[in-house]
């Protein structure tokens, strides 16, 4: 979620300031996000925040007995790591889509009609939503699978870790089951995305 909202913000700002420095800056951030191997990023974050500075815990999920605040600290690094990639991917898509829409005639017409900046942006947002939503669904699936690498680094007892263990123990039934569950999550999610798209965009409902 962090990644999605940051990505949308990045892409939108970049497109609105097309060609000027915010565009360059946010495009650079997005491209970095796309090319980061997240397992490496996780290691670097652990190295920086936990080993060199001792700000945050390096691994694990913390004890159940710990107060909520302490347990949230265990969440920070994995969440940041996992949100970087969707941020990059979505940032790039939002930028491309919004640029395309800004080039359309109705945006010029709205501006000519005297609408101020924010209502125009709202109109653009409505039109840019469907492809972005579709990609979000895909990215979510990617995260389901991608968390296997990050869970390995942070030693989290999640589905990714289970998958990893199953592979190394040649435990084919567990492997099949985990992948089946994750893939069905993915399918259901994409179905939800399709329904949401139809709700937003009447053109798809036909």
């Amino acid at each position: 979620m962090l990644g999605f909202s940051l990505g949308i913000a990045c892409g939108l700002t970049a497109a609105l300031y097309h060609g000027r420095w915010p565009d360059k800056l946010f495009s650079a951030i997005s491209t970095t996000g796309v090319s980061l191997p997240h397992y490496w990023c996780a290691i670097v974050l652990v190295m920086f925040c936990a080993v060199l500075h001792d700000w945050l815990p390096a691994q694990g999920m913390g004890d159940d007995s710990l107060p909520l605040y302490d347990r949230l600290q265990y969440l920070v690094l994995p969440v940041v790591t996992l949100s970087l990639i969707p941020m990059g991917v979505i940032g790039r898509l939002v930028r491309a889509t919004v640029l395309e829409i800004i080039g359309m005639e109705f945006v010029g017409a709205l501006t000519a009609k005297g609408l101020t900046r924010w209502p125009v942006i709202r109109h653009i947002g409505k039109n840019a939503a469907p492809p972005v939503l579709a990609l979000m669904g895909l990215q979510f699936g990617y995260l389901l699978g991608g968390s296997i690498l990050v869970e390995t680094v942070f030693n989290w007892p999640g589905s990714g870790n289970l998958l990893n263990l199953a592979i190394f123990r040649r435990d084919i039934p567990v492997l099949q089951a985990t992948i089946l569950v994750l893939a069905s999550f993915f399918v259901v999610l994409n179905l939800l995305v399709d329904i949401a798209q139809a709700a937003i965009d009447p053109r798809i409902r036909r």
Partner: protein, 304 residues
């Protein structure tokens, strides 16, 4: 009309008659010109070239054996005399391992994309050009693969086949075929509806020739650009597979594998441990930026 005007009109008409031969080289020429004016793309391509050259010429830039360790020289920091990037957990020179590792990492990144480009491109063009039953059959089969998130599919195939470089390449190729098919199908469907393709068909050109001259010329560009952007994903994924222990087997040098074996050392030598990942990051970033540069240079709409 004066003689000058007639002369002018005649010259214009002659120029127009000559024109049909010109557009194709003109387009690629302008693409090349735009690329030459793009400093980022040029810089990035040079970095990539450097990485490739260093990996291929690894024995020339380093005199260490990538497999020969030394118990005494384990986990030396960056800047140690003799080992300027330090050593890994069994005392092997890291610079040497990085150079040799580039070979496998680049191979494992580029080969799957090439395979899927050939197979996926062929299937996609077939589906797009033939349409109808054949098209539906191919596209629906690909949709089945789309039901799995890409990493998960790669891990599943690798997990079932067992580890090894060839298996991880195979797994990634399978993962990349569906998007490749989809892209080439979309572009081919668009190209098929262009007027000159219709004209060529109407004038009795055989299907094979239409595909070879007209469709391929319009389709290859976008597909290749997409393929270069896939290479960066492919490098990250293949290194990720060996990071999990599914790809290249030790003691061979590969960036993902090195990252995993150095992971335990981050409390001792944090900077050394981060280096293989930095290489993966840099390579994939360069491929991304290069593909962006080529894409915007080839986009006629953006460059009016």
């Amino acid at each position: 009309m004066s003689d000058a005007t007639i002369d002018f009109v005649r010259r214009e008409l002659l120029a127009q008659a000559d024109a049909p031969a010109a557009p194709t080289p003109g387009y690629w020429q302008s693409v090349r010109q735009r690329l030459a004016r793009d400093p980022v793309t040029i810089a990035v391509s040079l970095v990539l070239l450097a990485i490739v050259v260093i990996s291929l010429g690894a024995p020339l830039v380093t005199h260490y054996d990538p497999y020969a360790g030394s118990v005494l020289a384990r986990l030396k920091p960056i800047g140690t005399p003799g080992h300027w990037l330090g050593t890994d957990e069994t005392g092997r020179d890291l610079w040497t391992r990085l150079c040799y590792g580039g070979r496998l990492s680049l191979l494992a990144g580029i080969l799957p994309v090439t395979i899927s480009l050939l197979i996926g491109g062929f299937l996609g063009i077939l589906a797009g050009y033939a349409g109808g039953l054949v098209g539906t059959l191919i596209m629906r089969t690909m949709d089945v693969f789309y039901a799995f998130p890409s990493i998960l599919l790669a891990i599943a195939i690798c997990g079932l086949l067992g580890n090894g470089l060839s298996n991880s390449i195979l797994a990634l190729a399978v993962v990349f075929i569906p998007p490749m098919v989809r892209i080439s199908e979309t572009v081919t469907t668009q190209a098929r509806q262009l007027d000159f393709v219709e004209a060529a068909r109407a004038s009795g050109t055989t299907t094979l020739q239409v595909i070879r001259y007209h469709v391929l010329a319009n389709v290859l560009g976008p597909i290749l650009v997409y393929a270069t952007s896939l290479i960066s994903v492919s490098i990250i994924l293949s290194a990720g597979l060996s990071f999990l222990g599914l790809g290249v087997t030790p003691p061979r040098a590969e960036w993902g594998l090195m990252l995993n074996s150095l992971r335990q050392a981050i409390y001792v030598q944090p900077y050394v441990a981060a280096l293989p990942g930095l290489m993966i990051f840099m390579t994939s970033m360069c491929f991304n930026l290069m593909s962006d540069g080529v894409r915007s240079a080839m986009d006629v709409k953006l460059n009016k």
